[in-house]
């Protein structure tokens, strides 16, 4: 992966909280998170449900306000969404009344990227090729399988040619077999485009296979527990050596030990 030494995303003492009006309380989702992400890096966030992972990437995307600290993208404070950041959603979030192609073109209608019609067409075509959906331009999302829907979601995210790809558990709702294939596609796409990727998952295997770094986040308030470096050569998905290596098992065990207590805690509802 074309990792450089230039920081593209810098979070400093980032805190995010939500008002719980009914209980007249404030839920602190993330507390004093500091993280630097380099250009071209693939960072995976893992942690128990409700630990604030989604809040973190929502703060990078500019969807939610922060309650403290700062998030900067290319040294500019994030205040709103922008075309340099795109997002892939867990439930695909495709507009059901639009065809695959019209869904991918949505970003062009919402913002002026200064592209000519030919450039737009070329980009849509390129995105469709990247996710292997050529021939399905005129299909509607409800006609597609879960894996195909998510590939439309990825193609839409690629349409703006973003520097940063944010992915919130994109494969959580996809069956196990399709999921492995999608992981391979994700790795390939990010390798081909050289994008920086911030990826949330509940799967430790997915985290190790995709991430250059795995950031383990603890439960309420969300804080960084440990950052684990993963240095298997890429592409990893098509390399069957990776998954059966001793190092893989050790990494897996290490991360599981980090999240185990937290996961147990959330199941007990503490």
């Amino acid at each position: 992966m074309s990792k450089s030494n230039e920081n593209i995303i810098v979070a400093e003492d980032l805190s995010i909280s939500y008002d719980l009006h009914r209980e007249r309380k404030k839920l602190i989702a993330l507390q004093n998170i500091s993280l630097e992400i380099k250009k071209g890096e693939f960072v995976v966030l893992v942690g128990p449900s409700g630990c604030g992972k989604t809040s973190f990437i929502n703060a990078i995307s500019g969807l939610i306000p922060k309650s403290g600290g700062s998030v900067k993208v290319r040294d500019v404070e994030v205040t709103a969404p922008g075309p340099d950041r795109a997002m892939v959603f867990q439930d695909y979030a495709l507009l059901p009344w639009r065809t695959v192609e019209a869904n991918i073109r949505l970003p062009y209608e919402l913002q002026n990227l200064g592209l000519s019609e030919e450039e737009k067409q070329a980009r849509v075509k390129n995105a469709l090729e990247l996710v292997d959906l050529v021939g399905f331009e005129k299909s509607f999302p409800y006609e597609l399988s879960g894996g195909m829907k998510q590939r439309v979601g990825i193609a839409r995210a690629l349409a703006t040619n973003p520097d940063i790809l944010l992915a919130d558990e994109p494969f959580a709702a996809i069956d196990a077999m399709t999921r492995e294939a999608m992981q391979a596609e994700m790795e390939r796409i990010v390798m081909e485009t050289g994008q920086t990727c911030v990826f949330i998952t509940h799967s430790i295997d997915e985290a190790i296979l995709l991430g250059d770094r795995v950031v383990v986040i603890s439960y309420r308030p969300g804080q960084i527990k440990e950052i684990v470096d993963v240095d298997f050569p890429r592409p990893r998905m098509s390399n069957s050596e990776v998954k059966i290596s001793k190092k893989y098992a050790e990494l897996r065990d290490h991360i599981w030990n980090l999240v185990k207590d937290e996961a147990m805690q959330t199941t007990r509802g503490e």
Binding site: S61, L63, P81, G82, P83, R85, A86, M87, F89, Q90, D91, A93, L94, L95, P96, W97, L106, P107, E109, L110, Q111, D132, L133, G135, F140, P141, Y142, L144, S145, G147, M148, R156, T160, T178, A181, A184, E185, E187, R188, M191, P235, M237, S238
Partner: protein
């Protein structure tokens, strides 16, 4: 580097997977069985009715022959009252009066209800100001308002249309309102991430999402509106199908009463089926139940 996608091919990606099977007898039957079964069902129903009223000991004052009903309907629908007649015995005249009122009422109800519901869903101040009135009037049985509107407007077409509007407008408001409120959060988030401003969120996401809800509202509005038509004409008026029901029953012309009831059923079902078709057309992603 070898493209990973070359190694993994999904069955679902293969356009050749869908094969043309052409027309088979089974397929033709599958498509027409609904109409065929319903037609046979209805024919048997009317034949049994005819036999029961011909050979059974049934007073035709209470239940006329099916054939008498159809004859009354045919004659009533193919003749018009002569120019300047005080009272028309033609079903068609009354039908046109009621249908025109219903359509006018529905059009006004849509003109008020759709923007009203959208505004209530989109603005929490408008919502909190209007919602007590909407719920109060929506829960009030509309028939209770008829005497009041006769007092206000007399036995006029305006009164009849007003009753229809009041009957139809609330389901339209409430559905449009609910549509806006239930717009999926992730669709809004996606649009925001890809650069939508407030106006674009409304036009590109909320409105298309709400459209099938609005059509459902109109569908319910048609049902309520028809009740409004009949009630308004039964209570106050000298024309329309509601009036004709009353008049024919008063003059012991039961065949005419049944003919008008049948016409009301046909009209109502046609309109509701039209909106169902429309709903399936504009929102094929929603699995519309074909009841």
């Amino acid at each position: 580097m070898a493209k990973v996608s070359d190694q993994i091919k999904y069955e679902t990606d293969d356009p050749n997977r869908i094969q043309d099977v052409g027309w088979t007898l089974k397929e033709i039957w599958r498509r027409t069985r609904g109409i065929v079964v319903t037609s046979i069902n209805l024919i048997i129903f009317f034949i049994l009715w005819e036999l029961a009223t011909t050979y059974g000991n049934i007073n035709s004052l209470f239940l006329p022959k099916a054939s008498a009903m159809f004859q009354e309907l045919w004659v009533g629908m193919t003749t018009r009252a002569p120019e300047g007649a005080v009272f028309s015995g033609s079903i068609l005249d009354h039908f046109l009066h009621s249908f025109k009122n219903l359509m006018t009422g529905l059009a006004i109800a849509c003109a008020i209800g759709i923007p009203g519901g959208l505004l209530m869903g989109g603005n929490k101040y408008i919502e909190s100001i209007l919602s007590p009135y909407v719920w109060a009037l929506a829960s009030l049985p509309r028939i209770a308002l008829v005497p009041l509107f006769i007092l206000f407007l007399g036995f006029t077409t305006t009164m009849q249309v007003t009753i229809i509007v009041l009957s139809a407008v609330f389901p339209i408001i409430i559905n449009a309102w609910a549509g806006v409120k239930t717009t999926e959060k992730s669709l809004l988030a996606a649009a925001k991430v890809f650069g939508a401003n407030r106006t674009q969120l409304y036009y590109k996401v909320v409105l298309p999402y709400t459209l099938p809800f609005i059509i459902s509202g109109i569908q319910q509005g048609i049902g309520r509106g028809l009740i409004g038509v009949v009630i308004a004409e039964l209570f106050g008026g000298s024309n329309g199908l509601g009036y004709l029901i009353q008049r024919s029953a008063d003059t012991f012309n039961t065949a005419m009463t049944f003919a008008v009831l049948l016409l009301l059923i046909v009209m109502s079902l046609s309109l509701i089926n039209f909106t169902r078709w429309l709903e399936a057309k504009v929102a094929p992603w929603r699995n519309v139940n074909h009841l």
